[in-house]
Amino acid sequence: MQEKTLYQLAHARTGDKGNKVNISLIAYRAEDYPQLVEQVTEARVRTHFAHRKPTQVTRYLLPKLAAMNFVLDDVLDGGVNDSLNLDMHGKALSFHLLTLTVSAAAPVASAAGAASREAA
Protein backbone atom coordinates (compact mmCIF):
# COMPACT_ATOMS: atom_id res chain seq x y z
CA MET A 1 0.00 0.00 0.00
CA GLN A 2 1.36 3.42 -0.94
CA GLU A 3 2.13 5.90 1.84
CA LYS A 4 1.54 9.59 1.35
CA THR A 5 2.11 12.50 3.67
CA LEU A 6 -0.81 14.74 4.52
CA TYR A 7 1.26 17.50 2.94
CA GLN A 8 0.52 15.94 -0.46
CA LEU A 9 -3.21 15.69 0.14
CA ALA A 10 -4.24 18.63 2.27
CA HIS A 11 -3.38 22.09 3.53
CA ALA A 12 -3.60 23.44 7.06
CA ARG A 13 -3.47 26.58 9.19
CA THR A 14 -2.99 27.05 12.93
CA GLY A 15 -4.86 29.49 15.12
CA ASP A 16 -4.33 30.05 18.84
CA LYS A 17 -6.57 30.99 21.73
CA GLY A 18 -5.27 30.90 25.27
CA ASN A 19 -3.38 27.65 25.83
CA LYS A 20 -5.08 25.90 22.90
CA VAL A 21 -4.45 25.76 19.20
CA ASN A 22 -6.75 24.75 16.43
CA ILE A 23 -5.34 23.29 13.24
CA SER A 24 -7.53 23.10 10.18
CA LEU A 25 -6.90 20.28 7.73
CA ILE A 26 -8.42 20.85 4.31
CA ALA A 27 -8.31 18.26 1.52
CA TYR A 28 -7.23 19.59 -1.86
CA ARG A 29 -9.56 17.06 -3.52
CA ALA A 30 -12.95 16.15 -2.07
CA GLU A 31 -12.39 12.51 -3.06
CA ASP A 32 -9.48 12.25 -0.63
CA TYR A 33 -11.56 13.48 2.30
CA PRO A 34 -13.11 10.16 3.45
CA GLN A 35 -9.65 8.65 3.61
CA LEU A 36 -8.41 11.51 5.76
CA VAL A 37 -11.44 11.15 8.02
CA GLU A 38 -10.69 7.47 8.44
CA GLN A 39 -6.99 7.75 9.08
CA VAL A 40 -6.33 11.14 10.68
CA THR A 41 -8.02 10.37 13.96
CA GLU A 42 -7.90 12.20 17.27
CA ALA A 43 -5.71 9.43 18.67
CA ARG A 44 -3.17 9.64 15.86
CA VAL A 45 -2.95 13.40 16.06
CA ARG A 46 -2.49 13.21 19.80
CA THR A 47 0.40 10.79 19.37
CA HIS A 48 1.91 12.91 16.61
CA PHE A 49 1.98 15.91 18.95
CA ALA A 50 3.05 13.95 22.05
CA HIS A 51 6.08 16.21 22.52
CA ARG A 52 3.65 19.11 23.18
CA LYS A 53 1.67 17.11 25.77
CA PRO A 54 -1.90 17.81 24.63
CA THR A 55 -4.35 17.03 27.44
CA GLN A 56 -7.08 16.56 24.87
CA VAL A 57 -7.46 16.49 21.09
CA THR A 58 -10.89 17.12 19.61
CA ARG A 59 -11.72 16.67 15.96
CA TYR A 60 -14.61 18.46 14.25
CA LEU A 61 -15.71 17.43 10.77
CA LEU A 62 -16.89 19.76 8.03
CA PRO A 63 -17.73 17.39 5.18
CA LYS A 64 -19.21 20.14 3.00
CA LEU A 65 -15.82 21.87 3.01
CA ALA A 66 -13.84 18.62 2.81
CA ALA A 67 -12.19 19.89 5.96
CA MET A 68 -11.68 19.03 9.59
CA ASN A 69 -10.66 21.09 12.56
CA PHE A 70 -8.44 19.78 15.33
CA VAL A 71 -8.40 21.50 18.71
CA LEU A 72 -5.36 20.64 20.86
CA ASP A 73 -5.66 21.60 24.52
CA ASP A 74 -2.74 22.87 26.66
CA VAL A 75 -0.02 22.73 24.02
CA LEU A 76 1.28 26.33 24.21
CA ASP A 77 3.09 26.25 27.56
CA GLY A 78 0.43 28.57 28.97
CA GLY A 79 -0.31 30.55 25.82
CA VAL A 80 1.10 33.54 23.97
CA ASN A 81 1.79 35.53 27.13
CA ASP A 82 3.52 32.75 29.05
CA SER A 83 5.34 30.63 26.49
CA LEU A 84 9.11 30.90 26.09
CA ASN A 85 8.85 29.55 22.55
CA LEU A 86 9.97 31.79 19.67
CA ASP A 87 6.74 30.66 18.01
CA MET A 88 4.57 31.44 21.00
CA HIS A 89 1.38 31.14 18.90
CA GLY A 90 2.24 27.65 17.67
CA LYS A 91 1.88 28.89 14.09
CA ALA A 92 4.29 26.27 12.73
CA LEU A 93 2.36 23.35 14.20
CA SER A 94 0.15 23.13 11.10
CA PHE A 95 3.15 22.03 9.05
CA HIS A 96 4.02 19.44 11.67
CA LEU A 97 0.52 17.99 11.27
CA LEU A 98 1.15 17.75 7.52
CA THR A 99 4.05 15.36 8.11
CA LEU A 100 1.62 12.63 9.22
CA THR A 101 1.36 9.81 6.71
CA VAL A 102 -1.73 8.09 5.37
CA SER A 103 -1.99 5.05 3.17
CA ALA A 104 -3.19 6.11 -0.23
CA ALA A 105 -5.41 3.17 -1.13
CA ALA A 106 -7.87 3.15 1.75
CA PRO A 107 -11.30 1.57 1.37
CA VAL A 108 -13.66 4.49 0.91
CA ALA A 109 -16.86 2.77 2.10
CA SER A 110 -15.75 2.28 5.71
CA ALA A 111 -14.34 5.81 5.81
CA ALA A 112 -17.77 7.24 4.99
CA GLY A 113 -19.21 5.28 7.90
CA ALA A 114 -16.67 6.74 10.29
CA ALA A 115 -17.46 10.24 9.04
CA SER A 116 -21.15 10.09 9.78
CA ARG A 117 -20.54 8.58 13.22
CA GLU A 118 -18.27 11.34 14.31
CA ALA A 119 -20.27 14.13 12.71
CA ALA A 120 -23.33 13.11 14.71
Binding site: R13, N22, S24, I26, K53, Y60, L65, N85
Partner: protein, 449 residues
Amino acid sequence: METLAVGCGAGFSGDRVDAAEPVVRTLIERGGPAALIFENLAERTLATQQLAKRANPQLGYEPLLALELRPVLADCLAHGIVIVGNFGAANPDGAAQLIRQLALDLGLVAPRIAVVRGDDLSDAGGRALVRSHLPDFDDARFVCANVYQGAFEIAAAIRAGAQIVVTGRVADPSLVLGPAVAHFGWPADHWDALAGATMAGHLLECGAQVSGGYFADPGLKDVPDLHDVGFPIAEIAGDGSCIVGKAARTGGLVDERTVKEQLLYELHDPAAYITPDVVADISDCSVTRVGADRVRLAGVRGHPRTPTLKANVFFDGGWFGEGEISYAGPNAEARARLAMDVMQKRMGRQFPLLPLRFDLIGVTSILGDDGNRMLQAASTGQATDIRLRVAGRHQEQKVIDCLLRELTALWTGGPAGGGGVRVARRQRLSLQSCLIARERVPASFDFAA
Protein backbone atom coordinates in the same frame (compact mmCIF):
# COMPACT_ATOMS: atom_id res chain seq x y z
CA MET B 1 -31.68 45.93 -0.82
CA GLU B 2 -28.29 46.80 -2.24
CA THR B 3 -25.32 44.79 -1.00
CA LEU B 4 -22.88 46.48 1.35
CA ALA B 5 -19.20 46.35 0.47
CA VAL B 6 -16.85 46.24 3.44
CA GLY B 7 -13.12 46.48 2.87
CA CYS B 8 -10.32 45.76 5.29
CA GLY B 9 -7.42 48.20 5.69
CA ALA B 10 -5.46 46.44 8.44
CA GLY B 11 -5.46 43.04 10.12
CA PHE B 12 -3.27 43.75 13.15
CA SER B 13 -1.30 46.48 14.85
CA GLY B 14 1.71 46.94 12.63
CA ASP B 15 0.09 45.87 9.38
CA ARG B 16 1.10 47.47 6.06
CA VAL B 17 0.04 51.11 5.92
CA ASP B 18 -0.19 51.08 2.11
CA ALA B 19 -2.83 48.34 2.13
CA ALA B 20 -5.98 50.42 2.48
CA GLU B 21 -5.51 52.69 -0.52
CA PRO B 22 -6.18 50.06 -3.26
CA VAL B 23 -9.14 48.82 -1.20
CA VAL B 24 -10.68 52.28 -1.09
CA ARG B 25 -10.06 52.84 -4.81
CA THR B 26 -11.90 49.59 -5.51
CA LEU B 27 -14.81 50.54 -3.26
CA ILE B 28 -15.13 53.88 -5.06
CA GLU B 29 -15.05 52.28 -8.52
CA ARG B 30 -17.66 49.76 -7.44
CA GLY B 31 -19.98 52.48 -6.18
CA GLY B 32 -22.79 51.81 -3.75
CA PRO B 33 -22.71 51.75 0.03
CA ALA B 34 -19.37 50.84 1.54
CA ALA B 35 -17.35 50.74 4.74
CA LEU B 36 -13.68 50.31 5.59
CA ILE B 37 -12.48 48.59 8.73
CA PHE B 38 -9.15 48.63 10.54
CA GLU B 39 -8.46 45.79 12.96
CA ASN B 40 -5.49 46.85 15.06
CA LEU B 41 -5.99 45.09 18.36
CA ALA B 42 -4.62 41.66 19.21
CA GLU B 43 -5.14 40.35 22.74
CA ARG B 44 -1.90 41.70 24.10
CA THR B 45 -1.81 44.88 22.01
CA LEU B 46 -4.43 46.52 24.19
CA ALA B 47 -2.51 45.90 27.41
CA THR B 48 0.62 47.28 25.77
CA GLN B 49 -1.31 50.43 24.89
CA GLN B 50 -2.71 50.69 28.42
CA LEU B 51 0.90 50.79 29.64
CA ALA B 52 1.76 53.40 27.00
CA LYS B 53 -1.14 55.53 28.20
CA ARG B 54 0.04 55.25 31.81
CA ALA B 55 3.42 56.58 30.76
CA ASN B 56 1.86 59.36 28.66
CA PRO B 57 -1.90 60.07 28.91
CA GLN B 58 -1.82 61.49 25.37
CA LEU B 59 -0.93 58.06 23.96
CA GLY B 60 -2.49 54.61 24.18
CA TYR B 61 -4.13 54.43 20.75
CA GLU B 62 -2.79 52.61 17.68
CA PRO B 63 0.71 54.01 17.07
CA LEU B 64 0.34 53.73 13.27
CA LEU B 65 -3.07 55.43 13.21
CA ALA B 66 -1.99 58.56 11.34
CA LEU B 67 0.12 56.55 8.89
CA GLU B 68 -2.69 54.13 8.06
CA LEU B 69 -5.49 56.72 7.79
CA ARG B 70 -3.71 59.55 6.01
CA PRO B 71 -3.72 57.92 2.52
CA VAL B 72 -7.48 57.17 2.57
CA LEU B 73 -9.19 59.63 4.88
CA ALA B 74 -10.07 62.26 2.25
CA ASP B 75 -11.41 59.69 -0.24
CA CYS B 76 -13.50 57.90 2.36
CA LEU B 77 -15.07 61.13 3.57
CA ALA B 78 -15.70 62.35 0.01
CA HIS B 79 -17.39 59.11 -1.06
CA GLY B 80 -19.35 58.30 2.06
CA ILE B 81 -17.26 55.29 3.02
CA VAL B 82 -17.68 54.83 6.75
CA ILE B 83 -14.46 54.01 8.60
CA VAL B 84 -14.67 51.70 11.62
CA GLY B 85 -11.58 50.81 13.60
CA ASN B 86 -10.56 49.50 17.00
CA PHE B 87 -7.52 51.77 16.69
CA GLY B 88 -8.78 53.61 19.78
CA ALA B 89 -7.17 50.84 21.85
CA ALA B 90 -6.69 52.18 25.39
CA ASN B 91 -7.40 55.79 24.42
CA PRO B 92 -10.28 56.18 21.92
CA ASP B 93 -10.64 59.88 22.75
CA GLY B 94 -6.99 60.43 21.90
CA ALA B 95 -7.47 58.60 18.61
CA ALA B 96 -10.56 60.67 17.77
CA GLN B 97 -8.63 63.86 18.46
CA LEU B 98 -5.77 62.74 16.23
CA ILE B 99 -8.14 61.85 13.38
CA ARG B 100 -9.85 65.23 13.64
CA GLN B 101 -6.49 67.00 13.52
CA LEU B 102 -5.40 64.82 10.60
CA ALA B 103 -8.52 65.83 8.67
CA LEU B 104 -7.90 69.51 9.36
CA ASP B 105 -4.24 69.14 8.32
CA LEU B 106 -5.46 67.65 5.04
CA GLY B 107 -7.71 70.67 4.50
CA LEU B 108 -10.91 68.71 5.09
CA VAL B 109 -14.03 69.66 7.00
CA ALA B 110 -13.88 68.16 10.48
CA PRO B 111 -15.58 64.76 10.21
CA ARG B 112 -18.25 63.39 12.52
CA ILE B 113 -16.32 60.96 14.72
CA ALA B 114 -18.11 58.67 17.16
CA VAL B 115 -16.43 56.94 20.09
CA VAL B 116 -17.78 53.63 21.38
CA ARG B 117 -17.42 53.22 25.14
CA GLY B 118 -18.02 50.56 27.73
CA ASP B 119 -15.16 48.18 27.08
CA ASP B 120 -12.64 49.63 29.52
CA LEU B 121 -13.01 48.22 33.03
CA SER B 122 -9.69 49.53 34.31
CA ASP B 123 -11.09 52.26 36.58
CA ALA B 124 -12.05 51.66 40.22
CA GLY B 125 -15.62 50.59 39.43
CA GLY B 126 -14.59 48.31 36.60
CA ARG B 127 -11.83 46.83 38.69
CA ALA B 128 -14.27 46.02 41.51
CA LEU B 129 -16.54 44.27 39.04
CA VAL B 130 -13.70 42.22 37.60
CA ARG B 131 -12.33 41.41 41.06
CA SER B 132 -15.66 39.82 41.95
CA HIS B 133 -15.27 37.51 38.94
CA LEU B 134 -11.67 36.40 39.49
CA PRO B 135 -10.90 34.43 42.67
CA ASP B 136 -7.16 35.22 42.74
CA PHE B 137 -7.32 38.85 41.65
CA ASP B 138 -4.08 40.62 42.60
CA ASP B 139 -4.55 44.38 42.95
CA ALA B 140 -0.83 45.08 43.16
CA ARG B 141 -0.18 43.47 39.79
CA PHE B 142 -3.34 44.64 37.98
CA VAL B 143 -2.71 46.40 34.65
CA CYS B 144 -6.04 46.65 32.85
CA ALA B 145 -9.34 44.96 32.07
CA ASN B 146 -11.39 45.25 28.90
CA VAL B 147 -14.60 43.56 27.94
CA TYR B 148 -15.39 42.58 24.36
CA GLN B 149 -18.23 44.77 23.13
CA GLY B 150 -20.29 44.02 20.04
CA ALA B 151 -21.63 45.49 16.82
CA PHE B 152 -24.81 47.25 17.87
CA GLU B 153 -23.27 50.41 19.32
CA ILE B 154 -21.14 50.74 16.18
CA ALA B 155 -24.32 50.41 14.11
CA ALA B 156 -26.15 52.97 16.25
CA ALA B 157 -23.28 55.44 15.83
CA ILE B 158 -23.34 55.03 12.04
CA ARG B 159 -27.12 55.43 11.95
CA ALA B 160 -26.71 58.62 13.97
CA GLY B 161 -24.44 59.99 11.27
CA ALA B 162 -20.92 58.97 12.23
CA GLN B 163 -18.43 59.02 9.35
CA ILE B 164 -15.75 57.43 11.50
CA VAL B 165 -16.31 55.10 14.46
CA VAL B 166 -13.47 54.72 16.95
CA THR B 167 -13.59 51.80 19.34
CA GLY B 168 -11.44 50.19 21.96
CA ARG B 169 -12.02 46.50 22.56
CA VAL B 170 -14.80 45.10 20.42
CA ALA B 171 -14.93 41.61 19.00
CA ASP B 172 -13.03 41.72 15.72
CA PRO B 173 -15.91 40.53 13.49
CA SER B 174 -18.20 43.14 15.09
CA LEU B 175 -16.22 45.82 13.21
CA VAL B 176 -17.81 44.43 10.03
CA LEU B 177 -21.15 43.42 11.50
CA GLY B 178 -21.66 46.98 12.82
CA PRO B 179 -21.83 48.66 9.39
CA ALA B 180 -23.91 45.71 8.09
CA VAL B 181 -26.48 46.13 10.87
CA ALA B 182 -26.57 49.86 10.22
CA HIS B 183 -27.11 49.25 6.50
CA PHE B 184 -29.65 46.42 6.60
CA GLY B 185 -31.37 47.32 9.85
CA TRP B 186 -31.29 43.76 11.15
CA PRO B 187 -32.87 43.39 14.59
CA ALA B 188 -30.75 41.91 17.39
CA ASP B 189 -32.38 38.50 17.03
CA HIS B 190 -32.00 38.12 13.26
CA TRP B 191 -29.56 35.34 14.12
CA ASP B 192 -28.82 33.83 10.72
CA ALA B 193 -28.06 37.16 9.05
CA LEU B 194 -26.02 38.34 12.04
CA ALA B 195 -24.05 35.09 11.96
CA GLY B 196 -23.44 35.34 8.22
CA ALA B 197 -22.08 38.87 8.43
CA THR B 198 -20.11 37.92 11.53
CA MET B 199 -18.32 35.26 9.51
CA ALA B 200 -17.74 37.81 6.75
CA GLY B 201 -16.09 39.87 9.47
CA HIS B 202 -14.13 36.85 10.61
CA LEU B 203 -12.80 36.42 7.06
CA LEU B 204 -11.79 40.10 6.84
CA GLU B 205 -10.38 40.70 10.30
CA CYS B 206 -6.90 39.38 9.56
CA GLY B 207 -6.38 41.44 6.44
CA ALA B 208 -4.46 39.59 3.74
CA GLN B 209 -4.85 36.22 5.46
CA VAL B 210 -7.94 35.53 3.34
CA SER B 211 -6.58 36.95 0.10
CA GLY B 212 -3.35 35.03 -0.38
CA GLY B 213 -1.32 36.20 2.59
CA TYR B 214 -0.12 33.51 4.98
CA PHE B 215 -1.01 30.93 2.33
CA ALA B 216 1.80 30.64 -0.19
CA ASP B 217 3.88 27.46 -0.34
CA PRO B 218 6.02 27.62 -3.49
CA GLY B 219 5.25 24.94 -6.05
CA LEU B 220 2.18 23.74 -4.17
CA LYS B 221 0.12 26.77 -3.20
CA ASP B 222 1.46 29.55 -5.40
CA VAL B 223 0.18 33.09 -4.97
CA PRO B 224 0.67 35.68 -7.72
CA ASP B 225 2.56 38.83 -6.77
CA LEU B 226 2.57 38.11 -3.07
CA HIS B 227 4.65 41.24 -2.51
CA ASP B 228 1.62 43.27 -3.65
CA VAL B 229 -1.03 41.17 -1.94
CA GLY B 230 -4.39 42.92 -2.09
CA PHE B 231 -6.50 43.30 1.03
CA PRO B 232 -9.99 41.79 1.09
CA ILE B 233 -13.42 43.21 0.40
CA ALA B 234 -16.65 41.42 1.33
CA GLU B 235 -19.91 42.19 -0.45
CA ILE B 236 -22.54 41.39 2.13
CA ALA B 237 -26.12 40.60 1.10
CA GLY B 238 -29.36 41.13 2.99
CA ASP B 239 -29.41 37.52 4.19
CA GLY B 240 -25.91 37.80 5.67
CA SER B 241 -24.22 35.76 2.96
CA CYS B 242 -21.24 37.35 1.30
CA ILE B 243 -18.87 37.28 -1.63
CA VAL B 244 -15.25 37.77 -0.66
CA GLY B 245 -12.90 39.39 -3.13
CA LYS B 246 -9.94 41.74 -2.97
CA ALA B 247 -8.73 45.12 -4.08
CA ALA B 248 -8.48 45.53 -7.86
CA ARG B 249 -5.09 45.46 -9.63
CA THR B 250 -3.27 43.89 -6.69
CA GLY B 251 -1.48 40.61 -6.16
CA GLY B 252 -2.75 37.82 -4.03
CA LEU B 253 -5.44 35.25 -4.47
CA VAL B 254 -8.96 34.59 -3.25
CA ASP B 255 -10.10 31.04 -3.88
CA GLU B 256 -11.87 28.28 -2.02
CA ARG B 257 -8.63 27.21 -0.37
CA THR B 258 -7.71 30.64 1.00
CA VAL B 259 -11.25 31.19 2.25
CA LYS B 260 -11.49 27.80 3.96
CA GLU B 261 -8.16 28.32 5.73
CA GLN B 262 -9.25 31.66 7.10
CA LEU B 263 -12.79 30.51 7.87
CA LEU B 264 -11.40 27.91 10.29
CA TYR B 265 -8.65 30.16 11.66
CA GLU B 266 -8.86 30.45 15.47
CA LEU B 267 -12.11 28.51 15.47
CA HIS B 268 -12.87 25.70 17.87
CA ASP B 269 -16.32 24.12 17.58
CA PRO B 270 -17.52 25.09 14.08
CA ALA B 271 -21.10 24.95 15.35
CA ALA B 272 -20.47 27.53 18.07
CA TYR B 273 -18.32 30.52 17.20
CA ILE B 274 -19.22 32.86 20.03
CA THR B 275 -19.14 36.64 19.64
CA PRO B 276 -20.94 39.33 21.66
CA ASP B 277 -23.57 39.52 18.92
CA VAL B 278 -24.46 35.94 18.04
CA VAL B 279 -23.31 32.31 18.16
CA ALA B 280 -22.35 31.51 14.58
CA ASP B 281 -22.58 27.98 13.21
CA ILE B 282 -20.62 27.14 10.04
CA SER B 283 -21.10 23.38 10.23
CA ASP B 284 -23.34 23.42 7.16
CA CYS B 285 -22.00 26.43 5.28
CA SER B 286 -20.78 26.41 1.69
CA VAL B 287 -17.69 28.02 0.17
CA THR B 288 -18.01 28.39 -3.59
CA ARG B 289 -15.92 30.09 -6.22
CA VAL B 290 -18.15 32.43 -8.23
CA GLY B 291 -15.52 34.21 -10.34
CA ALA B 292 -11.89 35.24 -10.53
CA ASP B 293 -10.80 36.05 -6.97
CA ARG B 294 -14.42 35.87 -5.83
CA VAL B 295 -15.74 33.30 -3.37
CA ARG B 296 -19.20 33.10 -1.88
CA LEU B 297 -19.81 32.12 1.74
CA ALA B 298 -23.41 31.06 2.38
CA GLY B 299 -25.43 28.85 4.69
CA VAL B 300 -24.03 30.16 7.96
CA ARG B 301 -26.59 29.73 10.71
CA GLY B 302 -26.97 31.76 13.86
CA HIS B 303 -28.03 30.92 17.39
CA PRO B 304 -29.01 33.34 20.18
CA ARG B 305 -26.17 35.34 21.67
CA THR B 306 -24.85 34.35 25.10
CA PRO B 307 -25.96 36.31 28.21
CA THR B 308 -22.34 37.11 29.06
CA LEU B 309 -19.44 39.06 27.56
CA LYS B 310 -15.82 38.01 27.80
CA ALA B 311 -13.37 40.23 29.64
CA ASN B 312 -9.60 40.05 29.36
CA VAL B 313 -7.72 41.06 32.49
CA PHE B 314 -3.99 41.69 32.36
CA PHE B 315 -1.57 41.56 35.25
CA ASP B 316 2.08 42.42 35.56
CA GLY B 317 3.84 39.15 34.87
CA GLY B 318 7.41 39.98 35.78
CA TRP B 319 10.17 39.79 33.22
CA PHE B 320 11.00 37.81 30.11
CA GLY B 321 14.48 37.58 28.67
CA GLU B 322 16.13 35.83 25.76
CA GLY B 323 19.58 35.69 24.25
CA GLU B 324 21.12 34.17 21.13
CA ILE B 325 24.55 33.34 19.74
CA SER B 326 25.52 31.69 16.42
CA TYR B 327 28.02 29.01 15.48
CA ALA B 328 28.92 27.98 11.91
CA GLY B 329 31.38 25.83 10.03
CA PRO B 330 33.11 22.57 11.04
CA ASN B 331 31.79 21.01 14.25
CA ALA B 332 29.37 23.93 14.72
CA GLU B 333 26.69 21.78 16.29
CA ALA B 334 29.04 20.39 18.93
CA ARG B 335 30.21 23.91 19.76
CA ALA B 336 26.62 25.18 20.04
CA ARG B 337 25.73 22.26 22.30
CA LEU B 338 28.77 22.98 24.46
CA ALA B 339 27.61 26.61 24.76
CA MET B 340 24.22 25.31 25.90
CA ASP B 341 25.95 23.15 28.49
CA VAL B 342 27.90 26.13 29.80
CA MET B 343 24.68 28.13 30.14
CA GLN B 344 22.91 25.29 31.92
CA LYS B 345 25.71 24.78 34.42
CA ARG B 346 26.30 28.46 35.21
CA MET B 347 22.61 29.33 35.50
CA GLY B 348 21.89 26.12 37.38
CA ARG B 349 24.49 27.03 39.97
CA GLN B 350 22.97 30.47 40.60
CA PHE B 351 19.26 29.76 40.05
CA PRO B 352 18.71 26.02 40.32
CA LEU B 353 14.93 26.36 40.14
CA LEU B 354 14.72 28.69 37.16
CA PRO B 355 13.35 26.83 34.12
CA LEU B 356 15.11 27.75 30.91
CA ARG B 357 14.13 27.03 27.36
CA PHE B 358 16.89 26.17 24.87
CA ASP B 359 16.67 26.12 21.10
CA LEU B 360 19.29 25.03 18.60
CA ILE B 361 17.96 26.92 15.63
CA GLY B 362 18.95 24.90 12.59
CA VAL B 363 18.59 21.61 14.50
CA THR B 364 15.35 21.83 16.45
CA SER B 365 13.55 24.84 17.81
CA ILE B 366 9.94 25.99 17.51
CA LEU B 367 8.22 22.61 17.30
CA GLY B 368 9.37 21.66 20.80
CA ASP B 369 7.83 22.66 24.10
CA ASP B 370 9.37 24.71 26.93
CA GLY B 371 10.41 21.50 28.69
CA ASN B 372 13.11 20.99 26.01
CA ARG B 373 11.95 17.43 25.49
CA MET B 374 12.25 17.52 21.73
CA LEU B 375 15.77 18.92 21.94
CA GLN B 376 16.79 16.29 24.48
CA ALA B 377 15.48 13.58 22.16
CA ALA B 378 17.41 14.94 19.16
CA SER B 379 20.72 13.15 18.74
CA THR B 380 23.78 15.24 17.97
CA GLY B 381 24.22 15.75 14.26
CA GLN B 382 26.54 17.61 11.93
CA ALA B 383 24.62 20.87 11.37
CA THR B 384 27.01 23.63 10.31
CA ASP B 385 24.98 26.83 10.84
CA ILE B 386 23.28 27.00 14.20
CA ARG B 387 21.93 29.66 16.48
CA LEU B 388 21.66 28.84 20.17
CA ARG B 389 18.78 30.56 21.91
CA VAL B 390 17.98 30.58 25.60
CA ALA B 391 14.85 32.11 27.14
CA GLY B 392 13.46 32.45 30.64
CA ARG B 393 11.06 34.43 32.76
CA HIS B 394 11.06 35.54 36.36
CA GLN B 395 9.23 37.99 38.58
CA GLU B 396 12.48 39.82 39.32
CA GLN B 397 14.33 41.75 36.66
CA LYS B 398 17.74 41.05 38.21
CA VAL B 399 17.37 37.32 37.57
CA ILE B 400 16.64 37.93 33.90
CA ASP B 401 19.51 40.41 33.68
CA CYS B 402 21.81 37.71 35.00
CA LEU B 403 20.60 35.31 32.30
CA LEU B 404 21.38 37.89 29.62
CA ARG B 405 24.84 38.58 31.09
CA GLU B 406 25.65 34.88 31.09
CA LEU B 407 24.68 34.57 27.44
CA THR B 408 26.72 37.66 26.60
CA ALA B 409 29.75 36.20 28.41
CA LEU B 410 29.85 33.44 25.80
CA TRP B 411 31.56 36.03 23.59
CA THR B 412 34.86 35.39 25.38
CA GLY B 413 34.22 32.54 27.78
CA GLY B 414 32.24 30.11 25.60
CA PRO B 415 33.23 27.74 22.79
CA ALA B 416 35.28 28.90 19.82
CA GLY B 417 33.87 31.02 17.02
CA GLY B 418 30.59 32.17 18.57
CA GLY B 419 29.19 35.33 16.97
CA GLY B 420 26.14 37.53 16.68
CA VAL B 421 25.17 37.83 20.33
CA ARG B 422 21.78 39.47 20.81
CA VAL B 423 19.95 39.77 24.08
CA ALA B 424 16.57 41.32 24.90
CA ARG B 425 14.27 41.58 27.85
CA ARG B 426 10.76 42.93 28.27
CA GLN B 427 8.04 43.19 30.86
CA ARG B 428 5.59 40.33 30.73
CA LEU B 429 1.84 40.59 30.92
CA SER B 430 -0.18 37.69 32.14
CA LEU B 431 -3.78 37.25 31.09
CA GLN B 432 -6.86 35.99 32.85
CA SER B 433 -10.31 35.93 31.31
CA CYS B 434 -13.77 35.90 32.81
CA LEU B 435 -17.38 36.15 31.68
CA ILE B 436 -19.53 39.04 32.89
CA ALA B 437 -23.29 39.37 32.56
CA ARG B 438 -23.79 41.75 29.65
CA GLU B 439 -26.19 44.04 31.51
CA ARG B 440 -23.40 44.81 34.00
CA VAL B 441 -21.18 46.23 31.24
CA PRO B 442 -23.36 48.23 28.84
CA ALA B 443 -21.80 49.92 25.81
CA SER B 444 -22.60 53.42 24.59
CA PHE B 445 -21.36 55.87 22.01
CA ASP B 446 -21.00 59.62 21.74
CA PHE B 447 -19.64 62.07 19.23
CA ALA B 448 -16.17 63.41 19.88
CA ALA B 449 -16.07 67.14 20.55
